[in-house]
Amino acid sequence: MTFFAALLILLTVSCFVAGQILLKHAMDITARETHSRRHPAPIFAAAIVAFAINFFVNIGLLQRFDLSYFFPFQGLSVIMIAFAGAWILKEKLSLRLTIGSIVIALGVILVSLS
C-alpha cells in the first residue's frame, strides 16, 4: 500500500466518523420533545457531505483492493466513535463498552492485516 492510498483510507475513516457524529447530533435534535432553536437540516447536510466524500473515495479504493482487505480499515472508526460519542455527544461510555469497542477494533485490525 502506498502512502497516498493510506492517506485516502485515513480520509475515508475520518469523514465516516465525522458523518456519524453529525448524524447522531441531528437525530438527537429531532428526537427532542421540546422546541429547539437549532435546526437539524444544516447538520444533516454537513453529515451528507462527509459521507459523500467517504463514498466516492471508497469506490476509488475498491478499484484497487479486495473489499475484504481494505473495508476493515473502517473498523478503526469504532474506537474513534466511542470516544467522540462520549466527548462530543456526552454519551455514557462504561468500562465494559470501552473494552468491547477496543476488542471489536482489534478484531477489525487483525482482519485488515490478513
Binding site: 478499484q63 473489499l67 455527544l89 468491547g100
Partner: protein, 135 residues
C-alpha cells in the same frame, strides 16, 4: 395485527439489524460495480466516479440508502456508543459474504479477527440488553 408488526418493524434493534444486512449487501454490490468499471490507467479513477456507469453501483447506492435510513431510525433511540459497536457486525458479515459470493480468500488470521469482533459484540451485548429494558 398490522400495528403489532409495525411496532416490531420500527423497534430500533430491528432497524439496526436491517441496517447491518443492507450495509453488507451494499458493499458486495459496490465491489461488483467497481470491478466492472475499473480503469486504473486514468488519473481520475481514484475519485470512483466512473463507478456510476455500473448498474451494480446504483443497486449499491439504493441498498446503502436503505441502510442509512434504518440507521437513522436506530440512532434516534439508541446511544451511538452502543449502536455503533453492534453495527460493526458488518465486519463479520462482509468478509464472510466476500468469501461466499465473491470467492475472496479468508486467511486464518482474518478468521481470528472475525472471532475477535464477535467476542467484542458479546462484551457489548449486556449493556445493550440493559438499555433494551429501559426502552
Amino acid at each position: 395485527m398490522v400495528s403489532r408488526i409495525w411496532r416490531w418493524f420500527v423497534n430500533p434493534w430491528v432497524q439496526l439489524a436491517i441496517c447491518v444486512l443492507f450495509a453488507t449487501v451494499a458493499e458486495i454490490f459496490l465491489k461488483l460495480g467497481a470491478v466492472a468499471t475499473a480503469n486504473l490507467a486514468s488519473a481520475w479513477s481514484w475519485t470512483g466516479l466512473a463507478g456510476l456507469r455500473s448498474g451494480w453501483v446504483w443497486w449499491g447506492i439504493l441498498t446503502s440508502l436503505v441502510s442509512l435510513f434504518t440507521w437513522l431510525a436506530a440512532i434516534r433511540k439508541l446511544p451511538l456508543t452502543i449502536a455503533f459497536p453492534i453495527a460493526n457486525a458488518v465486519h463479520i458479515f462482509v468478509p464472510l459474504s466476500c468469501w461466499f459470493f465473491l470467492g475472496e480468500e479468508i486467511l486464518p488470521r482474518r478468521w481470528l479477527g472475525i472471532a475477535l469482533v464477535l467476542l467484542g459484540l458479546l462484551i457489548v451485548a449486556p449493556p445493550a440488553a440493559k438499555l433494551e429494558e429501559r426502552l
